[in-house]
Symmetry: C2
Subunit: 163 residues, 2 copies
DNA sequence: ACCTACCGGTTGACGTGTCAATGATGCTAA
DNA sequence: TTAGCATCATTGACACGTCAACCGGTAGGT
């Protein structure tokens, strides 16, 4: 009995069984949620959520084009990840890459007609899926709580890994 | 103004901007959380969370061994995924596979000494990471709310995809 | 001018996940 | 008996992510 009901997680090292159960539930359920959303999007539009993020950013960009590293920063990806992903998207005709006129060694990513159409067709079903799988599952209070939890977790991550 | 403050999400089709913002925060933050935990575990023990799940199940099994499909069911993986993963783990000497004595075409998965040691060394740092990245980031109320949110989301998924 | 250091972007190797197809084996019904 | 048929497990092809190495070009210091 080295630790009898401390003030509340005083110097405790490990999560309680209860906390651990919630952790598992939480992380597994959110993963399942992502995965379901992913396959919904795939089924509705043959796009992955990665494709969707890229197409969304390009759609909103002026001239429907962005420099590669701007795009990476905008959607929060590493450059390498983006490069691989753009390669796959280019093969499918969703985007094109060309050397940037203004910046010497910069690559410009352009939305193609096919890409714009795919994005257009995907948006509505995707938003509907978010509603069905997330919004409709929760009460307004729970939605607000989810927002606060996300903010708290994010803040903690930012403190621990400050970047 | 086709929809002025309905009773509450009456026949609404799409999430509001606010809901969408929370959704994005939520799903991206939980993904970042998983990813941080993954790399913590990797750094502390050279195991992935998949490895950890498999080793945990085997550690708790009688004889530190399980049939492949039992194992898959226990941790909720598809058999194919497990088979690929076991192949990689076997190459690293964490587990062994042999034909099952009792069930004709069943494969038995056994924990090796190296696997047990790797798991033993990983447990404490992993639980500590869960505390630091999740438990410590939230108030007790938020932890409880996270549990309820996970339960509600899970229930909704189960209804939609009933299995 | 030259060396270096950085910067934007790509590439390769590899771990991981899904899907569909394939063995291999036992069960059942004609 | 044997022709299906379900079941257990593996495999191959491919998408996706990370990491580290690499390449070409620009900029700074000496």
């Amino acid at each position: 009995m080295t630790e009898t009901t401390p003030g509340r997680r005083g110097g405790r090292q490990l999560p309680t069984a209860q906390e651990l159960r919630i952790w598992r539930d939480f992380i597994e359920t959110t993963a399942a949620l992502s995965s379901r959303l992913e396959s919904r999007l795939q089924g509705d539009s043959s796009l992955s959520t990665g494709d969707y993020a890229v197409l969304l950013a390009l759609s909103e960009a002026e001239g429907q084009a962005m420099r590669s590293s701007e795009l990476a920063a905008h959607i929060g990806w590493e450059r390498s990840r983006l490069s691989h992903h753009l390669g796959r998207m280019e093969r499918r005709g969703l985007i094109r890459r060309q050397e940037c006129a203004t910046v010497p060694r910069g690559a410009e990513v352009l939305l193609t007609k096919a890409g714009a159409e795919a994005f257009g067709g995907a948006t509505f079903p995707h938003l509907r899926a978010i509603r069905e799988l997330f919004v409709d599952a929760l009460t307004p209070d729970q939605i607000a709580a989810a927002g606060e939890i996300a903010a708290a977790l994010r803040k903690n991550l930012d403190v621990l890994y400050k970047e």
